[in-house]
């Protein structure tokens, strides 16, 4: 009996000291993360312009359904998501698989070259992309020189091509980042599995599809979720390259929130509502991805 009391006393002391260690981080997290999240939830029920708010109930949610600009932004964001993320992840996987070969000449050069875009300055590369895709920029000059087109394409002034430029910019930037994850995970796959497969006569593509990909499943899930979240919150590239694109064709949800708060007559309550739409989308898509990737028990 005495031993139990002593043990529970010790356990309680350890618990208390454990909590004390964690407390400063929790407090900071609470103030700078939890509190703003709750505050913005409350804000999303407020209506009013500038700094004058009043409670509006579900007025903002109703406004969402009638807002053509919101629908445009939502469509654009989902289009970017559906097109850019799969292309980028597949490319990253292919690059990683190619660069995993220990006998490939110039491996470290290629790895560095593909990863380098993620560490470049965002503004610097956007300015360069803008000048590359300008009316008289280098891309048009190359296309005209090779006679692929007969007159210069207005990349940034055309609604379709502007989306193409944004997707290329994002893919160029983030493929290397995902490739590194896959490379690291591939190092952990036992070589003997591949050897056994080669001996059994399994072709290269089948080795890739039936061995590499299933073994990378957790990492693929991780990069898919991260990329989804990043693309749903996309702001930097469309803002710097096209300022929302010719006629809102590259306007994303985050850009719309920015416009609502800092460009138009400010409606902070409505902006908070739109940001919660992003939260809901992220939650739904992440849940679906986890569901798809879970281990099925027989």
């Amino acid at each position: 009996m005495g031993v139990c009391v002593a043990q529970s006393g010790l356990a309680r002391k350890e618990q208390v000291s454990g909590w004390l260690f964690v407390m400063p981080a929790l407090v900071l997290l609470g103030i700078f993360m939890i509190y703003p999240i709750l505050w913005s939830l409350w804000m999303s029920f407020q209506v009013g312009r500038g700094m004058s708010f009043s409670f509006g109930g579900f007025a903002n949610i109703i406004r969402l359904t009638q807002d053509p600009v919101f629908l445009r932004a939502l469509t654009n964001t989902l289009v970017f998501l559906a097109i850019q993320v799969p292309i980028m992840l597949v490319l990253a996987l292919l690059f990683a698989s190619a660069l995993n070969d220990s006998k490939l000449w110039g491996r470290s050069f290629f790895r560095t070259a593909i990863f380098l875009p993620c560490v470049t300055s965002l503004v610097a590369y956007s300015v360069i992309f803008k000048s590359m895709f300008a009316g008289d920029g280098i891309i048009n000059q190359v296309l005209l020189g090779l006679h692929i087109v007969s007159e210069p394409i207005a990349w940034l002034a055309d609604p379709f091509w502007a989306k193409f430029v944004v997707v290329s910019a994002i893919t160029w930037r983030w493929t290397g980042y995902n490739m590194i994850f896959y490379l690291a995970a591939m190092q952990n796959i036992d070589r003997s599995i591949y050897e056994a497969a080669r001996i059994d006569g399994v072709p290269t593509w089948a080795r890739f599809w039936y061995i590499t990909v299933p073994m990378l499943k957790p990492v693929i899930l991780f990069t898919a979720v991260i990329s989804t979240i990043g693309t749903l919150q996309l702001f930097d590239e469309p803002n710097l390259l096209t300022q929302g694109g010719p006629s809102d064709s590259t306007l994303t949800l985050s850009m719309y929130i920015y416009n609502l708060s800092f460009r138009f007559m400010p409606s902070f309550g409505y902006a908070a509502t739109v940001s919660y739409v992003i939260v809901v989308l992220v939650a739904i898509l992440s849940y679906i991805q986890f569901l798809v990737a879970r281990d099925r028990r027989a």
Partner: protein, 424 residues
């Protein structure tokens, strides 16, 4: 007791006196911080103004910070919304279209200057734009009176003189542009498909706007707006324009000779004059009007801004004194900035000065300043309201539909619906 030589004592005394004088002057030297967006234009006029002020205040300095216009407006709005005043400037330049938005969204952020400045000496429409509840907050700066800037030498090759461009309609301009294209192969206008400049010019030339004086939306039931969109559609269909993306590409287009003309505000003079080797090759004609609209005249406004003092300004009194003594009374200063930067001030007494009557070599000896001054008097006054950005955004969103020849009635209805939704 130590004895110091007299010479040493004297030099020590002088040294101490100069150090104390130095610290006193250093303590009273103040720096005014100004935010604006065009180094050739408004930035240059502010520097010129301060060099005049410095004659009587040698210890004070000015720091003019240049930003991209949209970035500066958003930065200002963000900082005012956050409530922190650190890093805010003493004087900020705000475009007239947006003035009411800032004044109404952030009461108390700007310093009222009603008692400090004699507003009867300024153009009434500029004073009105900066007035809320009887208090005026600005030092009125320039008017954005528009003109059609064109490359006189190139149009002459195609056989067009200044007289051919006098008081024309947009349809006549389209015909001229097509003729020039046939004869010389050059494109007339650079048009940014993300910009609403042309719409604003056309609307104000007819005395109408997205909103009426009470702030009600006047789009769907406004026949003039309908005509504005049709005219824009005809301009784009006429094949006389080339698309440009962004400000740099736009200004680069006509300054490099890639395109031949642009209808824009008088403030573009500074950008055009930044290429001195093109002197004598440019001309300015009255901005075209809409032929089918009775109320449309050959005069309009694009832009125009004023200087505002922030309530939180660290050098508030110095800033106000500076604005009063140079911007509020120096007639000679206005002549200077007119000729050098094309800044058509709205200080009425300055209009009597000689620069306003003179002709300009750069524009082939045309009396451009007199012309602009005359057009200024003809600009129909409109109330911009507080939702100009939202309305612009709604119009720009429909530009692809307009360009591809869509039905104007449907487009007008879509714009009207979006503006009503955004301004609720």
């Amino acid at each position: 007791m130590t004895r110091m030589s007299t010479g040493l004592k004297r030099s020590l005394a002088v040294a101490m006196a100069s150090v104390s004088m130095f610290s006193v002057t250093a303590a009273s030297a103040a720096e005014i911080l100004v935010w604006c967006w065009d180094p050739n234009f408004n930035g240059a006029t502010m520097e010129e103004a301060f060099s005049r002020y410095q004659a009587e205040h040698p210890d004070d300095t000015i720091r003019v910070e240049i930003f991209d216009k949209a970035a500066m407006e958003q930065k200002l709005q963000t900082q005012l919304a956050s409530g922190t005043t650190e890093g805010l400037p003493d004087i900020v330049l705000i475009e007239d279209y947006r003035a009411q938005k800032y004044l109404l969204s952030f009461p108390g952020a700007f310093e009222p200057l009603t008692d400090q400045i004699d507003y009867s000496a300024f153009a009434p429409y500029k004073v009105e734009v900066a007035t809320v509840d009887g208090q005026t907050y600005s030092m009125p700066f320039d008017s954005g009176v528009t003109g059609l800037f064109y490359r006189a030498d190139k149009l002459e090759e195609a056989g067009y003189t200044a007289a051919d461009l006098e008081n024309i309609t947009w349809d006549e301009l389209i015909a001229i542009g097509q003729d020039v294209m046939e004869k010389t192969g050059e494109t007339l206008l650079p048009i940014d498909p993300n910009a609403s400049d042309l719409f604003r010019i056309m609307m104000q030339s007819a005395g109408t706007w997205y909103f009426d004086a009470d702030g009600n939306v006047t789009i769907a039931d406004n026949p003039v707006f309908h005509e504005v969109l049709s005219t824009y559609q005809r301009i784009l269909a006429g094949g006389i324009s080339k698309p440009v993306s962004g400000w740099t590409e736009y200004t680069g287009s006509f300054t490099s000779g890639d395109t031949l003309a642009t209808p824009t505000g008088v403030w573009m003079t500074a950008t055009i004059k930044a290429n001195p080797d093109q002197s004598g090759q440019w001309g300015v004609a009255p901005v075209p009007r809409m032929g089918d609209v009775e109320s449309s005249v050959n005069a309009s406004n694009l832009g125009g801004s004023s200087w505002y003092v922030l309530s939180s300004a660290p050098q508030k009194d110095l800033a106000i004194d500076f604005l009063k003594s140079v911007w509020g009374s120096d007639v000679d200063f206005y002549q200077e900035i007119l000729v050098n930067q094309g800044a058509l001030g709205t200080y009425m007494p300055a209009r009597e000065g000689e620069a306003f009557q003179a002709s300009d070599e750069f524009f082939g000896g045309q009396p451009v300043w007199q012309n602009f001054s005359n057009w200024l008097a003809e600009i129909p006054a409109v109330n911009y309201g507080i939702f100009t950005e939202e309305a612009d955004s709604a119009v720009v969103a429909q530009i692809p539909a307009i360009t591809s020849g869509g039905n104007i009635d449907e487009i007008v209805a879509a714009i009207d619906a979006q503006v009503r939704q955004q301004t609720q």
